[in-house]
């Protein structure tokens, strides 16, 4: 999965975001969306949003989203989007990945999402509608089990806090000093 737009997500790399691009962005235009369902590790995106909500800077919007199409409806005039989703990338359960859109690795992927319209399709739809934010980050966590009635696996549960911290760190680069500038 190593290509020009995908990296194994680590705190150091997340902190190395491009501050110059971020500095003038109003934080109120940031949407953080956890994509998921109540089934097993598919809850990972929601779990990260639950954790983030307690710590978000004012003005940032964190939402649990069930389908990528629901995400499109939320985009409106956002300038930046961060999506967290469980994924099947053939890695060790709990492995974290960070993608920046547009991304050739994702664009060419065949999606078998649990949410109907896939995330890549949803982003393409948003683009066709003129709703695509200027900057999009996608964080994935390798799922182990997405069966109905199951909770998060231990492998995924163990990465939720770390992933939330990574995202918080990445948006602290633009907040609070630069917020709504």
């Amino acid at each position: 999965m190593n290509d020009e737009c995908s990296t194994a997500a680590t705190p150091a790399q997340s902190m190395a975001r491009q501050p110059s691009r971020s500095a003038s962005r109003p934080i109120a235009r940031l949407l953080i969306a956890g994509l998921g369902s109540p089934h097993g590790d598919d809850q990972a995106g929601w779990a990260v949003v639950d954790r983030l909500r307690r710590w978000l800077p004012s003005g940032a919007d964190a939402r649990k989203v069930a389908t990528p199409l629901d995400l499109v409806e939320l985009l409106g005039r956002r300038q930046r989007l961060i999506v967290i989703d469980a994924a099947q990338l053939g890695e060790q359960p709990g492995a974290l990945r960070h993608f920046r859109w547009p991304c050739t690795a994702l664009a060419g992927s065949v999606e078998h999402g649990t949410h109907g319209l896939g995330l890549v399709e949803a982003l393409r739809l948003a683009e066709a509608l003129g709703w695509l934010p200027a900057e999009i980050d996608l964080y994935t966590v390798q799922a182990q089990d997405v069966s109905a009635g199951h909770g998060l696996s231990l492998a995924v549960r163990g990465r939720i806090e770390e992933l939330a911290d990574m995202i918080l760190q990445s948006i602290r680069d633009i907040s609070p000093t630069h917020a709504d500038a």
């Binding site: 089934h39 649990k64 629901d70 499109v72 109907g116 319209l117 393409r124």
Partner: protein, 447 residues
């Protein structure tokens, strides 16, 4: 998302010629399914609509659970129509407990259902079904190709968002609503909370009404059949939560008589149980059936919209379901506004009831057609038996029969076009395959 098995070479000397149309993964349907049609000498030998999404154990999962848990557990069967599952479960269990919900609580449930119909139908009309008529691979391709289609999809998403807002407010959250309970709701909204919802609905009402004419202007293939349409029918209302089971061939039965007239059976090629008329006949549920059997129950303004389409009602062409979905969206927006306008918060968010041993069934009109729930409980209110029959498993056999009739007419087409045309027939039904999956019943005998 089609893969086709190529034609066998032409057989010399007039040998019988076989051909298979195979769609490996149905696109633009909810869930995962596949389709195989086998033909010999231009005649259909076999049609198999296969449903291979992971089996669902919901009926077994419910056994031993408290009756109060049923609405939340069954809502998880489908991400598109959780309200339908909650409504059928609540009504069945209230009937079992001997109570009925009325007044503002009843209205709020109808409002919640309006929200779900709007969400589900708008998604299907503009992103899943319209590309079939306009010759695009997807709704995205449509929006990418022409600015007017992009504008159409933007408007459609605003309309769908109004449906989401209803479900979010009354359901407690946008996804997998949790505010519905046996007896009513955990919390009912204030008057002030509904006002912004009314504004949002008013803002999309004009588009909802214009969408009817837009869908009616599409080009519909000729595919008519004398179906037996089955839906609920209420004394005065367009049916959502209440009514008797009626059909276009004269069936008129109470909800709990459903098992006397319909039966489920297992077919080897699918994880979903198929439902049929007792004695083996197929039947058709969903918006087209609902409208054909109830258009006199729609509001005058929506009936007028239907007349202006120029389509003769009742209609027996399944492709025209897209127009009916648009009519039902226009109706749901109007009905939601009517309910909000007269709303006075109820004194209690739910009616009290006593747990008791018993059994009861109920049917509501999910976006895709009638959804049957039946429960048995013990004296402590624990569920001992549950049966859930979703609309897609009732339509599955009808879809296969349609394809058997339809496939010979596309034999002259190249493989990919023939497969595409067959997929179109299936998509007319808006099948929700994730709702329809059950698991094979296993009997393990030990010595």
């Amino acid at each position: 998302m089609s893969d086709q098995t190529p034609d066998p070479p032409a057989a010399p000397g007039g040998e019988p010629q076989e051909r298979t149309i195979h769609v490996g993964a149905l696109a633009r349907v909810e869930g995962e399914g596949a389709l195989t049609i086998r033909l010999r000498d231009g005649k259909v030998e076999d049609v198999q609509l296969r449903i291979f999404e992971a089996p669902r154990f919901f009926e077994a999962l419910l056994r031993g659970r408290r009756m109060e848990e049923a609405p939340d557990i069954t809502a998880r069967i489908c991400g598109i129509c959780p309200v339908a599952y909650q409504m059928s479960a609540c009504h069945a269990l209230e009937r079992l407990a001997g109570v009925a919900v009325s007044g503002a609580l009843r209205d709020l449930r109808r409002l919640l259902y309006c929200g779900e119909w709007i969400e589900s139908h708008v998604l299907h009309i503009f992103l899943l079904h319209a590309p079939d008529f306009l010759g695009y691979e997807s709704g995205i391709a449509m929006a990418q190709d022409r600015p007017d289609y992009a504008e159409l999809v933007r408007n459609a998403l605003q309309l769908k968002k109004a449906g989401n807002a209803i479900v979010s407010l009354l359901g407690g959250r946008a996804i997998h609503p949790i505010n519905v309970r046996v007896g009513g709701f955990y919390r009912t909204p204030t008057r002030q909370e509904l006002d912004p919802l009314a504004e949002q609905l008013k803002a999309v009402q004009d588009f909802a009404r214009r969408a009817v004419a837009w869908t009616a202007g599409l080009d519909f293939p000729a595919l008519e059949h004398d179906y037996e349409f089955v839906a609920l029918r209420h004394e005065t209302e367009y049916p959502m939560n209440e009514g008797r089971i009626v059909s276009s061939r004269g069936l008129d039965a109470a909800m709990d008589e459903f098992p006397r007239h319909f039966e489920e059976h297992q077919v080897p090629h699918s994880n979903a149980l198929q439902c049929r008329r007792k004695g083996g006949g197929t039947y058709f549920v969903g918006p087209l059936a609902r409208w054909n059997l109830n258009f006199d129950r729609a509001s005058p303004s929506v009936r007028q919209l239907a007349r202006e389409t120029g389509i003769g009602w009742p209609c027996r062409n399944p492709y025209i379901s897209i127009v009916v979905r648009a009519l039902e969206v226009a109706y749901a927006v109007e009905e939601a506004l009517r309910i909000i306008q007269r709303y006075k918060p109820p004194e209690q968010p739910a009616v009290p009831y006593e747990r008791r041993a018993g059994q009861a069934a109920w049917i509501t009109e999910a976006p895709r057609g009638i959804l049957y729930h039946r429960y048995e409980t013990d004296s402590g209110g624990l569920i001992t038996q549950a049966t859930i029959i979703p609309p897609t498993s009732q339509n599955q056999r009808q879809m296969e029969e349609d394809l058997a009739r339809f496939a010979p007419s596309v034999l002259h087409l190249p493989e990919d076009e023939a497969a595409w045309e067959c997929e179109r027939v299936v998509r007319s039904y808006d099948p929700c395959i994730s709702c329809a999956t059950h698991f094979l019943k296993l009997n393990i005998e030990t010595a």
